[in-house]
């Protein structure tokens, strides 16, 4: 079986490359939108006196996570069709990835902003920073490591989920897996699985570097000690 897999991989580099790129594309777009939405909503629900809204939003996105991905794809099709939008292909896949990636990003943004030392915020306020200045000059830079951790979580999770998006015709590394299941070809299943894993590890490593790169230097020094 391993030999078959190796043979298949060796003879299908073109296809695997194409599918991996497709996979990455869906992930990049889905999580790109997920970050913007997640961080924005995270900021919006983190203000003072918004604890109850935050609870509701976090609860809803937790429920979202519990919907099996197959069911979500199935639900998205009639909804999108009803809205006269393409019900198969990239669009439903990306919507699903945004939805699944939302919770980790949202929760970590909310937690990260909430965990900023109140003394920092008071120092900012006491020196005459407006709420917006406190957010952008103090809270967000300090919350970067926590938000990034959430993003990494979301992406690794979504790399797995994107493999299922093949059922709605979004392509990606799910293609060999599902083809293998249908035709009883373990070598195809393994090929897909191996490359999904490689992709997940590679992307996570890359994001680890990005995290190091965008975490403010002073915060890094503080953590190392």
């Amino acid at each position: 079986m391993l030999q078959d897999t190796w043979l298949y991989i060796n003879t299908h580099w073109d296809l695997i490359g194409k599918l991996s790129l497709q996979h990455l594309q869906i992930i990049a777009i889905g999580n790109g939108i997920g970050v913007v939405v997640g961080v924005t909503v995270g900021i919006l629900i983190s203000g003072q006196g918004r604890e109850s809204i935050a609870d509701i939003v976090l609860y809803l996105s937790e429920i979202m996570m519990t919907i099996p991905s197959m069911a979500l794809f199935g639900l998205l099709m009639p909804i999108l069709a009803g809205l006269a939008l393409p019900s198969i292909g990239y669009l439903p896949a990306i919507i699903a990835l945004v939805a699944y990636g939302l919770l980790p990003i949202l929760r970590n943004t909310y937690t990260g902003l909430g965990e900023v030392d109140p003394a920092m915020i008071e120092a900012g306020r006491g020196m005459g920073m407006s709420n917006r200045q406190i957010l952008f000059k103090v809270k967000l830079p300090l919350a970067v490591p926590v938000i990034m951790a959430g993003l990494r979580n979301a992406i690794v999770l979504n790399i797995g989920i994107a493999a299922i998006a093949v059922v709605i015709g979004a392509g990606g590394l799910g293609v060999p897996i599902f083809r293998g299941i249908r035709n009883f070809r373990p070598d195809l299943i393994l090929t897909g699985a191996i490359f999904v894993s490689i992709l997940a590890v590679a992307v996570d490593t890359l994001l680890g570097q990005v995290e190091k790169w965008i975490t403010p230097k002073g915060v890094k020094i503080g953590r190392e000690e």
Binding site: G126, M127, M129, P216
Partner: protein, 374 residues
């Protein structure tokens, strides 16, 4: 400069944190808000820059009602140094100091110049520290940067909430001294919150002692010690009142200005004669320019031979003090010196006088209060 008029703060839960408090703080003075925890001192301070909204009453800054000023504008014009230092860990020392100048939109070269000046003022070399991050500094250095940051845009008023709180006693003492020196230069109007009586005595031109949100006594440190208004004040300043009193006097106010002296090139016979005349077991030795060289102990004279010079038996001083030294510091210097007496010299080393235990005993006994000349 700052005037509080019937200021009251009632929190939403009904706590009356500050109760009908009126206080006037003069320009260039350090006013210490002192009291046990929960007395309303921090609340009072934070109402000045409106971090805490006032319930009733008025606070005037330079005659202007502070609720009529835009709150961010108000805060940018009042320096603020807080308890846990509150330096931004993601910003360099320079960026931290430039926080308010940036908010005020100063041009970059002016900001950088100011940051450099301030680092020099607080005794940190800009070449070394400008680009360091708070995590790379010691506690004392962070406090210094905290003070520099509060002075960022050269505000007339400074609010300091236990700025030297989270630091070891030795460093704290040094920072307090340095800050007083800086204050002599910059003459800011300062509201300083502390629960530490010693710190209040040292830093305050005036002390406002608070209890349960009410002002109990607003007075100079000396009056708080020696003219306590009631038992609460008496108990608060405590039983070590006499020792506290030492903190209010400088050496020059009590030292003996005619100490028994011999010249270093005198014959020992002269020294022997002086000791017998003065009926004391020691002498002080100076050179021809009256510079202090050390002590002579009576027992050391017993074995000397004829014709020998004072030089032979002089014991160099372990420590000396300046006329401006406060008596509490002088006392600890005396305790650590072998002779037990303290030579007082000027900055060129010339002998100005001597401080002995007898003098101190007399001072403590009389609980003598001089005019505070800080």
């Amino acid at each position: 400069m700052i005037k509080l008029e019937n200021v009251t703060k009632i929190y939403p839960d009904g706590t009356r944190a500050v109760n009908n408090l009126s206080l006037e703080i003069n320009k260039g003075e350090i006013c210490v808000l002192l009291g046990p925890s929960g007395c309303g001192k921090t609340t009072t301070m934070k109402m000045i820059n409106r971090l805490i909204p006032i319930t009733s009453g008025k606070i005037y800054i330079n005659g202007e009602d502070n609720t009529k000023i835009d709150e961010n504008e108000l805060r940018r014009n009042i320096g603020y140094a807080i308890q846990q230092i509150g330096l931004f860990p993601h910003m360099t020392v320079e960026q931290n100091i430039m926080t308010v100048p940036v908010l005020k939109g100063w041009p970059e070269n002016k900001r950088k110049k100011r940051a450099k000046e301030l680092l020099e003022l607080v005794g940190l070399d800009p070449a070394i520290y400008s680009n360091k991050y708070p995590a790379e500094l010691s506690g004392g250095q962070m406090q210094r940067v905290g003070v520099a940051r509060a002075l960022g845009a050269d505000p007339e008023i400074l609010l300091m909430d236990e700025p030297f709180g989270a630091i070891d006693p030795i460093t704290r003492g040094r920072l307090q001294d340095e800050f007083l020196k800086i204050q002599e230069e910059i003459k800011k109007t300062i509201v300083f919150v502390t629960h530490d009586l010693n710190e209040a005595m040292k830093m305050g031109d005036k002390i406002a002692l608070l209890k349960d949100g009410r002002l109990v006594q607003y007075d100079t440190p000396a009056n708080l010690l020696y003219k306590p208004k009631n038992d609460f004040v008496r108990n608060f300043v405590g039983a070590d009142r006499a020792l506290q009193g030492l903190r209010l006097l400088k050496v020059k106010e009590v030292m003996s200005t005619s100490p028994p002296v011999v010249k270093v090139n005198d014959d020992l016979a002269v020294a022997k004669k002086r000791i017998e005349e003065e009926k004391i077991p020691w002498l002080m030795v100076v050179d021809n320019e009256n510079r202090f060289l050390g002590w002579i102990n009576k027992p050391d004279l017993a074995t000397c031979r004829q014709g020998e010079k004072v030089e032979k038996v002089v014991i160099p001083p372990t420590t000396t003090a300046f006329p401006e030294t406060f008596l509490n510091e002088a006392l600890s210097l005396m305790l650590s010196s072998a002779i037990g007496n303290l030579a007082i010299v000027d900055n060129k080393g010339r002998l100005k006088g001597v401080l002995t235990f007898d003098i101190l005993r007399e001072v403590i006994g009389k609980s003598y209060v001089g005019e505070r000349s800080k």
